[in-house]
Symmetry: C2
Subunit: 361 residues, 2 copies
Amino acid sequence: MTRAYNFSAGPATLPEAVLRQAQADMLEWNGIGASIVEISHRSADFIAVAAQAEADLRKLLWIPDDYAVLFLSGGATTLQALLPLNLATAGQTVDYVVSGHWGKTAIKQARPYVKVQVAADGEPGGFHDIPARESWQLSDDAAYVHITANETIHGLEYRYTPDVGTVPLVADFSSSIASEPLDVSRYGVIYAGAQKNLGPVGISVAIVRRDLLERSGQPRADIFDFRSHAARDSMLNTPPTWNWYMLGLTVKWMLDEGGVEEFARRNAAKSALVYQAIDGSGGFYRNDIAHAVRSRMNIPFFLPDEDLTARFVSESKQAGLLALKGHKAVGGIRASLYNALPVAGAQALADFMRDFQQRNG
Amino acid sequence: MTRAYNFSAGPATLPEAVLRQAQADMLEWNGIGASIVEISHRSADFIAVAAQAEADLRKLLWIPDDYAVLFLSGGATTLQALLPLNLATAGQTVDYVVSGHWGKTAIKQARPYVKVQVAADGEPGGFHDIPARESWQLSDDAAYVHITANETIHGLEYRYTPDVGTVPLVADFSSSIASEPLDVSRYGVIYAGAQKNLGPVGISVAIVRRDLLERSGQPRADIFDFRSHAARDSMLNTPPTWNWYMLGLTVKWMLDEGGVEEFARRNAAKSALVYQAIDGSGGFYRNDIAHAVRSRMNIPFFLPDEDLTARFVSESKQAGLLALKGHKAVGGIRASLYNALPVAGAQALADFMRDFQQRNG
């Protein structure tokens, strides 16, 4: 068994300790005669696992008591459809700031339900920068303002929390949640698919300020209603129990490692290693993102031509550095450096980049 | 490690061979340097796993080519909301036949979107029988007719496919799919949460006759659109990959064991063992369901009083027979006998029932 350094953008690398625990528990969990994936979500055993995961996540992210934490099936895209259904009336204006692919996806899911106002759009600039707060055209009567905290494909990240007044700020944190300390109280809703920093694919988290649960929203099935999920502790129906358990193990691991302050340090160190390899390459490697908003989580970069790009992907894989091929929407290379990727992984990539440049530059 | 016989109604027991494979693969799958849960859903490795699972499911259930197979996050309840959105226009009439708890749930999810006509309702009879086809009041212009093939809580099961003419028949097969041969071509849509017979919780399957994908449905987010999922091979967004992989292992196991004909034999044998223990008890155990529609999958039964019921639950657990407590909606005992529960498990339960009666009758 050889585990490589895995730079996948998601589903992504998990802590080896978490996988080993899952492996040990696979046939029987905690002496109960069955696997955790084989028992009722309404059993005392699973309810304890679920409650512990929520308590640990609240501790990890310092989530205030006036926020509900929902554990839902589906990923961020599903949540992007549920947001207007729960937070806005039919046809109400909502403001979206677009800083990359996922901001556009969020709008696509919302459009059938609300009047989407694009408050600012980075696409004319090729998504190389996040539109400055001063340029945003916010509506007077928006139900909420939506941003994408980190753009997984384009590699841009807010390095501050924008002030949008009294309108609730809703943020897709799928690819940067738990990567550094975060003031939850500045947001109305924070949501994330789990498969980057929180654990396995197949479960998502929505952190919702409780007063927003009082909004009537618009006609929708009970299963699409945040209030119903909150009232039933996310057990309105059968939740993805194994995924929830794995999320709990991953959150516990993050707490044991030192919490978000420690991961902020590691993520700063990891991204600095890779950006230094890019910036110190004399143009052999190129990242086009404005330095102030470069993502610490996902670093897209380019080589001089397609042949070198293909060779880089192939040789890095041989060297035990997995999943570095860029997303097809932008091409090139992409290195994702989530919490479970150790600093040694980023160092190995930076070393490989220098070696590859020496041989091919 | 002692694995007990697990009668949970879902999430439910899985084949030990499947769990052992998942355990072996947990840190590294197929020599790729990462777990299957850590790689991109768009990687060639995962796409092959997903495609094999679909091919094997098509083979297991003899699914004709003119049916799409969708692998979706969320469970049957989510699908119950998606059905009217995809198959009916806003406010259109749909016919629902209610034979238990899950038929009512299906209606609850549909009501915000369509005019639900209850074509027949078993509740006045205490859900002890499925309303006879002759009694159904079908609408002339219904978008579809919905039935629940097996009621997991109340323990009733259709033992025939009702003829509803040219209107598409939509059936919730969550707790009986793959339990016996099934003529898919008689249905417009067959859907199921996976966590009973198909594998792990956290993924569901919708088998949709392709002409129904042409229906315009009603305004909905792209992520709620069956057409979009079908067009993208259920990879419109990041699917629950580990759950899909586990479903694939479980389906492969069912094929290896002899397919649905073999499971039909085993399930008939298992349910006969338990029903014989009930019917042969002289009234000590009681099952109230009309014999013609008794479920082979979920057998609810009652003891003379609450004390004996509690003792039965406690002593059976001590004897290595798990999760026999009945659903709170009906009380008593419930034994779920899904495909992964061996005949020896049903025999052990029947033996325990006779022994318990001797000691307490």
